[in-house]
Subunit: 135 residues, 2 copies
């Protein structure tokens, strides 16, 4: 018994399938975060539309990819970056107004001051404008 991947929320064993591998490759090798529809177009007849939704949910629950909400409300997916087995979700993203690409910004740490009667669990910081390629 050698399980390779688990859903960290339900501690259930998940399986590696062709479609899952292909979609993860796509996200891993993309220089920007991808939406469901973009993945659907890029994979053509790899699998059903519903299957893509389920694979994305699984990869998020396995903590392999993470969701990014774009400024227009569309949801995109990008690879998670782990450091020394400690998982640090990077929630700083740049959304280019021209090429519409969403990229994760490593090493950008925003600072802020907020009243004490709020408990902050998550930080979502999206900057929009022009990326280096479109400037």
């Amino acid at each position: 018994m050698q399980q390779c991947c688990v859903n960290i929320l339900h501690m259930k064993v998940t399986r590696n399938t062709a479609a899952k591998g292909a979609i993860l490759d796509l996200i891993t090798n993309s220089d920007s975060a991808l939406s469901h529809s973009e993945i659907h177009k890029l994979t053509a007849d790899l699998c059903d539309r519903v299957t893509i939704y389920r694979i994305l949910d699984r990869l998020v629950n396995e903590d392999v990819i993470h969701k990014i909400v774009n400024l227009d409300g569309t949801i995109k997916y990008a690879k998670c970056h782990h450091a020394n087995h400690v998982h640090i979700h990077n929630h700083v993203h740049f959304s280019c107004e021209k090429c519409l690409k969403v990229t994760c910004m490593e090493n950008v740490q925003p600072s802020y001051i907020i009243p004490r009667n709020y408990k902050v669990n998550d930080v979502n910081f999206t900057l929009s404008g022009l990326c280096p390629n479109c400037l």
Copy 2:
């Protein structure tokens, strides 16, 4: 000729209607940002679903309300706060995980450092966790 409101993008005169007034009142008096579906439920049979979309678009273009993208991708609307005729869009919001309310945070100014080859036009900063009421 006494025009009361204009679409600042197209400089076209807009009209005050019962539905528009009621929806603006709703947003103005709400302590949290409201989504299209929330407004639809709260207004019952005030007007058609499509009309709500159009009224919200109009109010955004008139610079009276602004859009907020929630962490789950849903779009919410809140009143704009102007100071001395100078319009300052406040893009810092708090999204409560428990009561699901989205509130605008005045006076919170995040600071950040970003590479020079990016041109930032807009900042969207959403913190999530527990609000004072749910803490």
